[in-house]
């Protein structure tokens, strides 16, 4: 693999390889001396045009645990503000001997633009509403750890599917791995033709979660209410929040997941977030293992 731009164009075999490699990385992560030589002599730069603490830190630690040189650029403090084009910024970073650029950008296709014109490897850390492949991979990795297989799992993704790159990457990845994906949320937040991507739309949350093995909440941006996508937070949580009652319709050992950060009480109740079914904190650890695996595979 040269780049990781999205799971749409990643094969089942490549996904399996990443998930398998992540298992080995988890051993390093769980050990006392979190230092391995896999990325020794490599240079990795995160280029973030959007604020994100957790994804960025996760990538940074992943590259440091594997002994690479790493640096971070954020849009606010770089030449981006002076109007430099994305390609010029990318070329400059590449010229400094960078092997991998990890980019997060508010616009779909930004990582693809870099990949097309640069020689170094590009990792998409989230581009607009398009994809967030490392998130979906860490989600699948977490599911795999608990369920042993992804084949035949019923995964319900609920919330603002329209604006969600996490949902898109999960739909591509999970369906390739043989899981069933059901999406739920306000009808105004369902992208057109989403079913042609392989997910089934179920507008009623109780029907959606029936016998589900995994329920994944998506972060809702509270400002979306202003653009007429839903009336009030109150009504949103009344009809779309995942709570104890919702969970009772799911399979017995259903996992509760969320890419974070969570709006407690909106997307799901605190009792679920902190409850026994929740693997939300574990997802964070998985994120580091999966990102270590991806960086290793791309630089090998």
């Amino acid at each position: 693999m040269k780049h990781l731009l999205g799971l749409k164009d990643t094969s089942k075999e490549e996904i399996e390889n990443i998930l398998e490699t992540a298992r080995g990385m988890q051993v390093i992560l769980d050990s006392n001396i979190k230092k391995a030589p896999h990325l020794n002599g490599k240079s990795i730069v995160t280029l973030f045009y959007e604020n994100s603490t957790r994804t960025r830190l996760s990538f940074e630690l992943a590259s440091k645990y594997l002994s690479s040189a790493s640096a971070n650029i954020s849009a606010s403090s770089s030449s981006v503000a002076k109007g430099e084009t994305l390609l010029d910024t990318g070329r400059t970073i590449q010229r400094m001997g960078t092997d991998v650029i990890i980019i997060r950008h508010p616009m779909a296709g930004a990582p693809h633009l870099l990949a097309k014109h640069l020689n170094c490897s590009i990792v998409n850390a989230g581009d607009g509403m398009n994809e967030h492949p490392t998130q979906a991979l860490l989600d699948m990795y977490t599911m795999l750890r608990h369920k042993g297989t992804l084949q035949g799992l019923k995964v319900v993704i609920t919330g603002d599917v329209l604006h969600s790159r996490v949902a898109r990457s999960n739909i591509w990845g999970l369906t390739k791995m043989g899981a069933e994906v059901v999406v739920n949320g306000p009808a105004t937040m369902m992208p057109v033709a989403i079913e042609d991507m392989g997910a089934r739309v179920e507008p009623n949350i109780k029907h959606a979660v029936k016998d589900a093995d995994v329920i994944m909440g998506l972060r809702i941006q509270l400002e979306r209410q202003k653009s007429g996508l839903f009336p009030t937070i109150r009504e949103y949580s009344k009809f779309f929040s995942v709570n104890e009652e919702t969970l009772s319709y799911a399979a017995k050992d259903c996992l509760i997941m969320h890419p974070g950060p969570v709006n407690r009480g909106v997307e799901m109740t605190s009792m679920l977030i902190d409850g026994d079914s929740s693997v939300i904190e574990e997802q964070v650890t998985s994120g580091v293992a999966v990102r270590m695996a991806i960086l290793y595979i791309l630089t090998r």
């Binding site: 950008h105 607009g128 057109v192 033709a193 989403i194 991507m197």
Partner: protein, 407 residues
């Protein structure tokens, strides 16, 4: 100059003849493999001059139009300054006339600075040679102002051209809303954004009893509504562009900014409806919407990239290949849409000898990097087409000769 044994095709004519040009040359061309048609007329293009000469200027635009076989072109007013007064109209006409090539007809703005607030000096622009009015790219959102524009313009016999897009429904979309926009995570522009305004313009035309011309029709429902309106006797005419019957939104895959255009490329059912509309006469004309841009405006994030396709140099080849050779239209019908109807709609007199002479049989490959237009922005690179223009004749003078027939 003489074209010996050339096939001449017009709407109701198809014959082999010799064409004599009174251009002082005594050259005789054996033209038995070429076809001559009445010169192409483009009723919708962007020449970018004044203001955006780094994208195109009148000289480079005219050169590209000549290469594309056009003898007359009408340019849209979204320049800087906007063509919203007689001075800019005169500037463009004078600059174009000095080139002694393709004739350029400015289209004035409906409203001052294309802001949709106050009417521009429509009468004065007409007096200085503007042939129509349009707020292309930034449609008049106020229905009452549009109604007044139609009434006022009609009193000066000025055609009104509407770029139909309900900006509110389009929100900040950057491609057609559909499966492809969902897959790419790009915000979609619903077809309804175009259709809602087509409906409004039809209603205004029916209500006032006055004509309106719909620019670059791209959706199935828009074609249906215009067809129905015409049946009722509404004075609505319309055009489409070559990209709307040759490409779908799937061209955007890979975040291909060359496929970013407004209205956006639609879906298969729309392409089929456009072809159907061309066949049954619902769609009167084919325009290029030639919209040249600098490379830097396309080699960026899709959402930020400029809308538009550099179209002069591919429009005829695509139309000939995808409509005539594909069996949808006769060559005579294509002549109607690309040469005759645009003149009628814009009420431009057809004087002198204006011809487009092309090779119908030899395949050519589209190479955008070799365009003479400054805008190399085309999604048609690598397309293999028929109908390459060999000569363009304006007022009895050859203004373009292909390298392939030179020497």
């Amino acid at each position: 100059m003489v074209f010996k044994n050339i096939r001449y095709v017009s709407v109701n004519e198809d014959k082999v003849m010799d064409i004599h040009l009174d251009d002082g040359s005594d050259k005789v061309v054996d033209a038995k493999n070429l076809v001559a048609i009445p010169g192409l007329v483009d009723m919708h293009c962007h020449l970018r001059d004044p203001g955006y000469e780094y994208k195109e200027d009148i000289a480079s635009g005219v050169k590209a139009a000549a290469k594309g076989g056009f003898v007359k072109i009408a340019c849209m007013p979204n320049t800087k300054p906007v063509i919203d007064n007689s001075a800019v109209v005169s500037y463009i006409r004078k600059k174009a006339e000095s080139l002694k090539s393709v004739k350029v007809y400015p289209i004035g703005a409906i409203t001052k600075n294309i802001e949709g607030k106050e009417l521009a000096e429509i009468g004065d622009m007409k007096a200085h040679g503007a042939v129509a009015i349009s707020d292309d790219g930034n449609p008049v959102m106020s229905s009452s102002l549009m109604k007044k524009a139609m009434i006022y313009a009609h009193s000066f016999d000025m055609p009104v051209i509407s770029h139909c897009e309900d900006k509110d429904l389009a929100e900040d979309g950057s491609m057609n809303e559909g499966f492809v926009s969902t897959v790419l995570g790009l915000r979609g522009i619903p077809k309804a954004a175009e259709e809602a305004m087509v409906a409004r313009e039809i209603i205004l035309a029916e209500y006032t009893g006055l004509p309106v011309h719909i620019a670059h029709v791209s959706t199935r429902l828009a074609v249906h509504m215009i067809r129905d309106a015409k049946k009722r006797g509404v004075k609505v005419t319309c055009e489409t562009c070559h990209h709307y019957f040759t490409l779908t939104d799937e061209t955007v895959y890979g975040f291909n900014t060359y496929a970013k255009v407004n209205p956006p490329l639609r879906e298969k059912e729309d392409v089929e409806a456009i072809i159907e509309g061309l066949k049954d006469g619902t769609i009167d004309a084919i325009a290029t919407d030639h919209a040249p841009h600098h490379e830097d405006e396309k080699k960026i994030e899709f959402q930020l990239a400029a809308n538009g396709i550099s179209g002069f140099e591919t429009a005829f080849g695509l139309s000939y290949t995808y409509l005539v050779r594909a069996g949808h239209l006769s060559l005579g019908e294509l002549v109607d849409k690309m040469s005759i109807r645009p003149l009628e709609i814009l009420k431009i007199k057809d004087e002198g000898v204006n011809l487009t002479i092309f090779d119908p049989n030899v395949k050519f490959v589209v190479e955008p990097e070799k365009f003479v237009s400054k805008g190399k922005n085309s999604p048609f690179g690598g397309f293999e087409l028929f109908g390459e223009v060999m000569y363009t004749v304006v007022d009895g003078r050859i203004v373009y000769t292909s390298d392939k027939v030179k020497g």
